[in-house]
Symmetry: C2
Amino acid sequence: MNNKITLRDVDFSKWYTDVVMAAKLASYTNVKGCIAIEPNGYAIWEKMQEILDKKFKELGHVNVQMPMLIPENLLKKEQDLVEGFAPEVAWVTEGGKNKLEERHCIRPTSETMFSDYFASHVRSYKDLPLMYNQWCNVLRWEKETRPFLRSREFLWQEGHTIHETEEEAIKETKQMMDVYKWFHHEILAIPSITGLKTEKEKFAGAEFTLTNEALMYNGVSLQAGTSHYFGQKFSKAYNIKFQSKENKEEYVYQTSWGTATRMIGALIMVHGDDKGLVLPPRIAPKQVVIIPIGKDERVFELSNKLNKELNDNNIVTYIDTTDRTPGYKFAEAEVNGIPVRIEIGPRDLDNNKITFARRDTSEKVTIDLDQDLVEFTKDLLEKIQNNLYDKAVERRDALTFTATNMDEMKKILDIQPGFIHADWCGNPECEVKIKELKGCKSRCITEDALITGKCVCCGKEAKHHVIWGLQY
Amino acid sequence: MNNKITLRDVDFSKWYTDVVMAAKLASYTNVKGCIAIEPNGYAIWEKMQEILDKKFKELGHVNVQMPMLIPENLLKKEQDLVEGFAPEVAWVTEGGKNKLEERHCIRPTSETMFSDYFASHVRSYKDLPLMYNQWCNVLRWEKETRPFLRSREFLWQEGHTIHETEEEAIKETKQMMDVYKWFHHEILAIPSITGLKTEKEKFAGAEFTLTNEALMYNGVSLQAGTSHYFGQKFSKAYNIKFQSKENKEEYVYQTSWGTATRMIGALIMVHGDDKGLVLPPRIAPKQVVIIPIGKDERVFELSNKLNKELNDNNIVTYIDTTDRTPGYKFAEAEVNGIPVRIEIGPRDLDNNKITFARRDTSEKVTIDLDQDLVEFTKDLLEKIQNNLYDKAVERRDALTFTATNMDEMKKILDIQPGFIHADWCGNPECEVKIKELKGCKSRCITEDALITGKCVCCGKEAKHHVIWGLQY
């Protein structure tokens, strides 16, 4: 391992890219703004897909696949959407040897194609709800890109559902935000916060947007998962009508929700350290690595036996049998964020022992072979999962501040950004003024917090309690 | 169910589209030449992905994701590839509000991006082999399209591997063709044939191409899975070099292999009948449907109990609890190709019996409840799988012909196309002449068959034994 990783506290941005490269999660390509997701990175995405897909299906969603090209006239039907996305789409203007009569954009998101599909497939309330999801690539012509966090092309899932009633659609919008929150807290060990986007920050064309916001180690926020309620906006624009129970013609109520490969970026920036990636066991594609030391026959026997036992008990384990030094193998497992490393060497074996090393704390513990090793490993993985979550909560809380006026806001942003709680009058002009402070934006309106004071910007009566912060 | 399906023997082409629509596998969209893959169709693709992905990984492959856009200058590096694909790619020429300095095509296949990636990631023989696969969408600007069989955008997997030696790369090329053959025979119940493509029909840029060819009910062939050996053609064009064991600089040996959603088309056209889709149990996303008849409490109890038992034993089962008549439910299960239908009604129950109906033969059998129903169902599913395979073999053999001259060739194609065995001199001019017979093409050179005669076209000495046929 000759991957030098910049120290996290010295240059966070460089540290991040170093970890992406050293852990072989992704690499740059000769296509500007687009990355190649390498095996280590893609395995994390596959694990994310597996867990989320199962959850979506349990809740009654089914997967489909819509075309990736959108004819311009279709895109233009919903004005907010086209204004929101037109500046950042890529246009196909030639097919084969011919210039196209109408240009097609590559989907930046698929409300258009789903709406057009729904319009021709729904007749009666008996056809509702339709609860669809698709796993796909999308493309947004971003100017500044960064691996996983902001990439021209990225992979995501986008759910699109239509319902008979407003109530049912709003329930779905909230439910899917709960799923993202659950996924972050329980699986990724990231204590994200959720809430409502302001009018200015909501999705183009949505009635309202719920968002899941995670705080990175450096105090910058990452939006990772949003759920939109569209009301009848798209159904009126795309003519998605149905015959109601009362035999009246009505427009459906619609939602969409999505999350993307940027969650891999969040994992790195919440849990990673100076040695590289740190993966919570529940999302780690490989949870345990066994490293045999020396050439003793007993070492290989026990390695194989333990490897089999752990895998048989659903602990994803592998043996590093490559032709490299133990030190190299230790370092590689650390860079790659493998939660648990088991070292099996002849000296320990003489004492009927093996060694477990935790990636999260670097602690090593020597275990008697008479112990139940499967149970011990399971426990250890749970401890690591919980410790990572607790550490992330601690960091988030340490970087959570309150501001009551612009001076306080500015001071916080100058010293150490984070989640900044501050009341707001609801006027977008104040939002614009706050943004002048290093690009600080409203992350979300929290639903539960009480409004206790005046607008942090203009000092007038506050309408909302808002969490503010810098963002990726 | 008011889906009228054209009779298969009356108009095969219309029958095919009717089945696609009636079984809700896909529908047309407002994007020319592109379909929406609907839940029933996508579920089959997910099952295909699951089985193939597992097999690929068992053989040491890992998944990655390359960009979907290819800059023109990169594409142009390998001349055969660009000539083969340039007429059918879509070009992105505008990004956001700006005209691009260089146009980018949407990948029609990804040899370019993988080769470019390999070139910057391989240094030493220790880095080899790299055995990558990606599941993605590709786009080819086809003029005539047909759902699943030929669509501008389609979903597929493309494996790309690089190796130290020619021997190893050729072994991989053959091994992956064996995987496709296994998948068709064992899972899809399609007795495909495999062999070598002629120079004229091989992949643009390949040294040789192995192909998997399936025969549809109407005697037309479908190429469903190809595996290419590139030798050092791409590694020289893209400069993929490594330091060998002997410390010399060498070019890698490369392969690629892929198969796509057109296999769904093959399933329909090999097994489907006048009632709709027929799915072999091993690829059916839902294997058994339970249809409760009447409102008797005992019916629901048994339905739930049996549903649980079958699912617990890895037989994917569901109960149709919708508010429609049993007749409607039977018809829907038939159109959708569910292999086994279990009918549970009060009259049967009075006699301690329930009824099993096979989708493949339409046979019904009444079973005593004292029997082991899980075992019975498992057996039945195996019987259906085998019966579908046997029927497909029978049909394929009935539509397999031999021709020794052009008159015989023409007569076969006029009466009933199929796989036509005929010797060939190896001259591409003869291939062109044969193609003048209704577009008949060489499907593959068979490896095992003996050459017994003269070229079917020119009468000169034959070099190869070839299977010919019409194609989708």
